[in-house]
């Protein structure tokens, strides 16, 4: 019976063909193989985001009722708190995984020819993930979400000339209010998924097309000495085990540290002390703060935005600068650039949390 069903499906969808292909595909095995799991983990957390997001959508009401609906989810619906906590924690783990994936790709030089588009699409996915995070953070419309969004919008708002207009457009007015929630909701559940999914498809197709990159130390070995394992079932089984561990980590975080809901947002109230944006914006927030205090006025704003745009651009175009498959001076410089970026992000993030403690 089972075979008959399989054959029926196979005849129409070509399962055996896909399986044979998956068995032929190999994954390199070396000292740095651990980093190969982070792309899959990012995908896994995105799937969790989508599933828990759909469940939250059943009860969430954007606009003036936003806070009340989240209050009901958190305090009345059976396991509503768990779904919401899982959604919030997986959002953070999702962005964390992408960051780890990005830095591992960078330091393994996996952006080099012919994987440039993999790098660009990955950067696009990270940007969209951060906008996902930012737009989702406001949706409960509690005190913390309200003021953190207000502070967060200072970053695009500080862009010279177009900044204020841009911030007004995002907010739906001069202040963060229920209209902002409506806009962020539409962005969060319609616009961003519509952009993210095709880009994700492209990214996965490129990974499939070019396979896993190996670090230079591995590439330098004779082919006979390199080790690899079949993608299916060997690497796939390990990937599933990693997904299980990730799911467990998420379950532990969501259960033991459930996402709290603060007081309803009140635009007339004073901002609670120590208000700050989410951790993945902390580096940008602190850098702008420093530049603003060192160079008051428009110069500080201009410098802040300039530093960011140039930095992001340099990071993005690294495959054009260090595109050769063999490392030379450019490869070393790119490596140092990566180390500087990691250090700068870490220092500014820690300083940011230190300043609002």
């Amino acid at each position: 019976m089972g075979t008959a069903v399989y054959n029926w499906i196979d005849e129409r969808l070509g399962l055996t063909e896909a399986l044979t292909f998956a068995k032929k595909k190999t994954v390199p095995l070396h000292a740095h193989s651990f980093w190969y799991y982070w792309g899959g983990l990012s995908l896994f957390f995105f799937i969790i985001q989508a599933l828990t997001g759909i469940l939250l959508l059943v009860y969430y009401r954007p606009g003036a009722d936003a806070f009340e609906s989240v209050r009901q989810i958190t305090y009345q619906m059976h396991f509503g708190w768990l779904i919401r906590s899982a959604h919030s924690w997986s959002a953070n783990l999702f962005i964390f995984s992408i960051f780890v994936h990005m830095f591992s790709v960078f330091f393994m030089k996996a952006y080099r020819k012919p994987r440039e588009f993999g790098w660009f699409s990955g950067m696009g996915l990270l940007s969209l993930a951060m906008v996902f995070g930012f737009s989702g953070y406001l949706l409960p419309m509690d005190e913390l979400a309200f003021f953190a969004t207000k502070v967060g919008l200072q970053i695009p708002g500080s862009t010279p000339v177009v900044g204020p207009l841009l911030a007004d457009m995002v907010r739906g007015g001069p202040e963060v209010n229920e209209f902002t929630v409506q806009r962020f909701f539409a962005l969060h559940v319609v616009v961003l998924p519509a952009l993210f999914l095709p880009l994700l498809g492209l990214h996965l197709w490129l990974v499939q097309r070019h396979g896993n990159a190996v670090p230079e130390s591995e590439a330098a070995k004779p082919v006979a000495e390199r080790k690899s394992i079949p993608f299916f079932p060997n690497f796939f089984a390990k990937d599933l085990a990693m997904w299980l561990i990730a799911l467990n980590t998420l379950a532990v975080l969501a259960s033991l540290f459930p996402w709290d809901l603060g007081k309803p947002a009140d635009s007339l109230a004073a901002a609670p002390p120590g208000i700050h944006p989410e951790w993945y914006f902390m580096s940008a927030f602190q850098t702008l703060k420093w530049l603003g205090s060192w160079f008051p006025g428009a110069l500080g704003e201009f410098l802040g935005i300039g530093v960011f745009n140039v930095g992001i651009l340099l990071w993005l175009v690294i495959p054009f600068y260090d595109g050769s498959t063999r490392s030379g001076q450019r490869g070393r410089r790119a490596h140092y650039f990566g180390l500087i970026v990691v250090t700068a992000v870490a220092i500014t993030t820690i300083a940011g949390y230190w300043s609002v403690r």
Partner: protein
Amino acid sequence: MNYPFWNVPNVGSGWVIGMIAIFHVMISHFAVGGGFYLPLAERKALSGGRGQWCETLRGHAKFFLVLTGVFGAVSGVGIWFSIGLAHPEATSTLIHNFVFGWAIEWVFFMVELTTAAVYYYTWGRIDSKLHLKVGWVYAAASFLTLVIINGILTFMLTPGDTWLSVAGTGQEASKFWEAFFNPTYWPGLFLRIAVCVSLAGIWALVTTSRIDGEAFPKLKTDMVRWSAKWLIPSFLAMPLLLGWYLWAVPESQRALLTLGISTIGSGTFSQVTRAALVIVMTSATILGVVYFLAWRSPVDFSFSHALAVLALAVMATASGEYSREMLRKPYVIGRHMYSNGVRVKSVPQLNAQGFLPNARWIRADVSPEYAKGEAMFAGQCMSCHTIDGYRSMRRLLAGRNRAAIGNFLTMLHDYKPDSPYRRFMPPLSGSPDEIRLLGDYLDHIVSPTAPAPTGKAVASLH
């Protein structure tokens, strides 16, 4: 109330016990399960002519001896020290009832330690059949330590009606066997056996993961898979055993499991539900990870994979022990003694005569009013709460003024049948004057600008 108070800032004395206990359970349950793993594996090696197995098993026996004989024994003593300091009243009750139980356990414990050392040091030096017998003696002795301690641990949750009928009469020890074979004894024992067996497999995976898979693929495949199999029976039985255990737990305690289904927050006591979720989730993850990493790819099964499984086991054990402790709330010994060491039967007397008249450890370097408020906190709250850390009073009472704190204390003192706090918290015992001083003390803790119970400067105390 003649014992000094053990103040562990931020962490709380309960967590000191908890951390030592979780570490101890991971090792002591391995000591029992591993006690069966070693002779069974050795028998398999001897009967099947698997010479290479013996080399690995010898290494495992050395690891086993060091881990259980040193860390297991030391952490066991650590539990004694910590429970004696954190819960002197409860420890005293246990000693008075189970002194012979513990004496028997220590006899088995001495046999266990001795045979574990003999088993390792005589490997290859005595006849293999005799060596195997030493292993079986160890297994029996370690299993019997579990049989004994399980009676005492389960007694704390469900002492049983027979023992409770003589509690406080001085005749408690006459009901030793009724207290020992209490309502949760058998489900508790089988549940722990299941944990022991699975931990034996998990720790064995740590050792077998270190076999060189390239040089000895068959040896590694056989031993990793054989160790992984140890998880199957216990994981199949665990849901049934958990159900049996919960069925034996009193309804009022069982209800704690459902409190966190529809809500969150430390104030709503949903910790048991949340910890139970972690147990279920982590147990399922262990099974899945062992299947995908160890069973499917035994040759590639690495030390880091084994450590990941072990970390998951620590998480499941920690959640299990935490849930078990929380299920006892508001008691430390079910229906006999509240979690702050106050006996249930003593509450009316303490309310009439006061909580502090028998207290011998009240500070003399501050005003008597402040010292009494502080002693009330230490005696009735500090076994579960800290000032700033775990279940912090500053956080839980934040935003309440003196009147609100007073109302809350009155509610705890009245302990009405419909009070939601009855499920987790003991009643507040003491005279109205003592409760007022506790209120002043808490008010001063929560709002340092509020006047200290006497007006004397005491801010430097905290």
